[in-house]
């Protein structure tokens, strides 16, 4: 291992409208080291990753390759310095074989004009696969491979393009223990070959097992760079999580919760969770936390009836529910989905049209649609939620993220919903609008509704919820009462130990 890092970033800053993603971050990677990058969701890890591979340009800062200052303007530069990122969405063609995928766009020509030399492609591919210890026939079609194996093909693809720095984003997220072992063995080989690896992970066991160095990001800043021997998992969690309390939202006193509104027992579904049980009472905000991929959205969808459950029961006010979204809406259940543009709004339609959609049956029992009544109902929601739009006729695509989210929530006020499921309600919304959304949710429970809230921002859960369930790998890892509800506890329960 040389003393000069292969790649070094100094003072990198990157801003997006309304949000400072990275603030004077410095980072270095040596040849043959595994450098762990940890931090909560939104800490800046993926932004840093995108800057490393040239997908984003830094606003400020400098880059050094083997000690020399260089320019990093785009993906071509990143490739020049041997940086390759293994993303979560693979760029593999399902019905081509491994070798063809590795050499896509760089096929070897055969002696005959226009034809490619298949045997050479296969032989070269075998060489690359062997070099990472992946023993498989390169003629295997990619669609037959499991996720772990596809990931290895991606890695082989990167190496065949002479990558000297690999950036891996949660590579073990979809892997079994056995596959993880294989991945680690491969990483050892890469280290020996002098390849530097930047490894993003939420799994503390991996961080300590594999990492040569650990860098903690928080709110776009580099908080610390440590050796594994200098710290413990608990200290690491504290570094990741500790921050000033956000004073713009104060939790009001809430009346004691009423009777049980939602009861879920031993619910399982093939979409990705099993044996989930939880309850929500009227007037309560219950949080559902856990890492991305732990099954929270899937549970919410099953409760709402958007996906089929394979086992267990769901009861609303004692009666079974969850057969279809239509039924749930009739029973006064609301879902504010994860992705408001893709799942919550009809972007081409007006604000008013979107607001009345869920409540059409309630507003117009005769099934005759009267525009005047619809506009009135829409205006009343617009005023109540203070949605910033000059008219209900405006296409909803013209609104800001925060206002769009208010429209999604407002949709349910007309449907007289009594139970709300929120999935990441403040994602992509700036600080000012966030507080407003919280107040809105407060109002809902104040009027007797029950709320189940999914959020990846632990601080939100701690502030707004009365209690919370934490999910991990498709199961409930634990329940936290009001007193136990702290960010550290959530993070600890949610991560693999």
């Amino acid at each position: 291992m040389s003393s000069v890092p292969v790649l070094e970033l100094r003072g990198i800053s990157k801003e997006f409208p309304g949000v400072k993603a990275l603030d004077e971050v410095s980072f270095a990677i040596d040849a043959g080291e595994v450098h762990m990058l940890v931090g909560e969701n939104g800490a800046g890890k993926s932004t840093l990753m995108k800057i490393l591979c040239g997908a984003y340009r830094a606003d400020r800062g400098s880059f050094f390759h083997k000690g020399q200052e260089v320019a990093m303007h785009g993906p071509a530069d990143a490739r020049k310095f041997g940086v390759a990122v293994i993303f979560q969405e693979f760029t593999l063609v399902p019905y081509l074989d491994i070798a063809q995928n590795i050499f896509l766009g760089r096929e070897f020509s055969s002696a005959l004009p226009g034809l490619i030399d298949r045997s050479r492609i296969h032989a070269e591919a075998k060489r690359v696969l062997d070099s990472i210890g992946f023993d498989i026939d390169p003629r295997t079609p990619v669609h037959k491979l499991g996720v772990a194996q596809q990931q290895m093909v991606e890695i082989a693809k990167a190496l065949s393009q002479n990558a000297r720095i690999l950036v891996m984003d949660e590579p073990t997220a979809a892997l079994s223990d056995r596959e993880t072992e294989l991945l680690f063995a491969m990483i050892e080989r890469l280290k020996r070959d002098g390849v530097g690896i930047i490894y993003i992970s939420h799994r503390l066991s991996e961080v300590f097992a594999l990492g040569d160095r650990i860098t903690v990001l928080r709110d776009g800043r580099r908080i610390a760079s440590l050796l594994p021997g200098e710290t413990t998992p608990d200290k690491l969690v504290t570094l990741m999580v500790g921050r000033e309390v956000d004073a713009t939202y104060t939790r009001p006193d809430r009346p004691l919760p009423g009777k049980v509104v939602l009861e879920v027992k031993n619910l399982s579904a093939t979409t990705g969770f099993s044996d989930v049980s939880l309850t929500v009472r009227a007037g309560e905000i219950v949080g559902l936390c856990g890492l991305v991929g732990s099954g929270r959205t899937e549970v919410a969808r099953a409760i709402f009836g958007a996906d089929r459950a394979s086992a267990g029961e769901i009861r609303l006010n004692g009666e079974p529910i969850g057969s279809s979204p239509e039924d749930s809406v009739r029973r006064a259940v609301a879902l504010i989905p994860e992705s408001r543009k893709a799942q919550g709004l009809a972007l081409a339609r007006s604000v008013g049209d979107n607001i009345v959609l869920a409540g059409l049956r309630k507003l117009f029992p005769s099934r005759i649609y009267i525009p005047r009544r619809a506009t009135k109902a829409a205006r009343s929601v617009i005023d109540k939620l203070r949605i910033a739009t000059p008219s209900p006729r405006r296409p909803v695509s013209a609104l800001s993220g925060g206002n769009q989210q208010k429209v999604v929530i407002g949709k349910w006020l007309n449907a007289n919903a009594q139970f709300y499921i929120f999935d990441e309600p403040t994602r992509g919304i700036d600080v000012g609008a966030k507080a407003e959304i919280f107040r809105l949710i407060d109002n809902l429970v104040h009027n007797g509704a029950g709320v189940l809230m999914i959020s990846s921002e632990q601080i939100e859960i701690v502030h707004i919820c009365d209690r919370a369930y934490v999910m991990r790998a498709g199961r409930i890892a634990g329940e936290l009462s009001r007193d136990e509800l702290t960010e550290a506890n959530i993070v600890r329960l949610g991560m693999h130990q």
């Binding site: 339609r349 006729r393 449907a415």
Partner: protein, 325 residues
């Protein structure tokens, strides 16, 4: 931005939506085309020709009105022409057999609706893309029709029935009255019922519609049934007009019907468009075809012209989408 700062009069100005402007442009185009044709041909602006145009446009509109609902959901129904053939032939047989035009009409519309139901099931339950399902259905229907008719023709319907296609009321062809009736029904359904609102929502974003409690599958089947039933209705008018039925009637109506809907402003990608627009589209298209006839252009050019019009309309649609995004 707060809502209270903007005065009421300004709000009304915002309320003059893009839809109305689009309609205005199309009516202008219609008038322009009419003017051009009047200049190019002496025969155009005569009573006989205008009535003919209206009659043709009415038939086209009836075909296209149901199709509009299908396209609003981002689907397509390529089987309507073949639907006219089969429903028309069945209706014709029943009229000849029982002597009752009413029974025949019932069978015709019922058959059309049943075909629509089959399309709907293919699209929702079997999840076959609508253009593939209705394309296959088109061929199946053609085959069944030819088999049923065996190459023969049925002619001679009761004079009362024939009034539907070739009769006049106060000098205006009967089909035009039928057109107005269904224009009213269509506009009412699309703009003044919650089902219409749900259909627009499905076209704009079927996932969001479903998660808002809209019974998406049921509504999709509904639009295909309506499209089929309207084809059945159109077949009656064709029968009444030509006073006969054979295996290939209605064949030439599919492309123009699609063109009428697209030219009328309904987007192929779903979620926007109106039945009223389709009426204007039907008139525009009929004028173009009529104009070609009057100018003695070989009728074989007509499918070609229709094809080009469709491509143009889709291209404009794609561009507008791009700008709007």
């Amino acid at each position: 931005m707060s809502t209270t700062a903007i005065p009421r009069s300004a709000r009304n100005r915002f309320a003059m939506s893009g839809d109305v402007m689009q309609m205005l442009y199309r009516v202008l185009a219609l008038l322009l085309l009419g003017a051009v044709l009047t200049a190019l041909s002496d025969v155009f602006f005569t009573t006989g020709n205008i009535l003919n145009v209206l009659r043709q446009a009415a038939l086209l509109f009836l075909m296209a009105s149901g199709l509009t609902l299908v396209i609003l959901t981002a689907g397509l129904d390529l089987s309507i022409g073949a639907n006219v053939a089969l429903s028309g032939c069945f209706a014709a047989s029943v009229i000849k057999l029982t002597g009752s035009p009413w029974l025949g009409a019932g069978v015709g519309i019922g058959c059309g609706a049943a075909i629509g139901m089959a399309n709907g099931v293919l699209v929702t339950a079997l999840r076959i893309p609508s253009f593939v399902a209705t394309y296959g259905m088109m061929w199946i229907l053609t085959g069944v029709t030819y088999y049923y008719m065996g190459g023969e023709t049925i002619h001679g319907f009761p004079p009362g029935f024939r009034q539907l296609g070739s009769g006049h009321l106060f000098g205006i062809p009967v089909p035009v009255y039928v057109m107005f009736v269904f224009l009213a029904i269509g506009v009412f359904f699309a703009q003044r019922t919650i089902w219409g609102q749900q259909i627009y929502a499905i076209g704009a974003n079927p996932v969001a519609a479903r998660l808002s409690g809209v019974p998406v599958e049921r509504r999709l089947i509904l639009v295909y049934v309506v499209s089929g039933a309207m084809a059945g209705l159109a077949s009656l008018i064709v029968l009444a007009r030509i006073n006969s039925a054979q295996g290939d009637i209605g064949e030439e109506l599919t492309l123009p019907a699609i063109a009428a809907v697209l030219v009328g402003g309904t987007s192929l990608f779903g979620g926007s468009g109106t039945v009223g627009g389709t009426l204007i589209g039907a008139l525009l298209l009929t004028l173009v075809l009529n104009g070609m006839n009057l100018l003695q252009i070989n009728s074989s050019w007509q499918p070609l012209a229709t094809g080009i019009i469709i491509l143009l309309a889709v291209w404009i649609d794609t561009r507008t989408r791009r700008i709007g995004e």
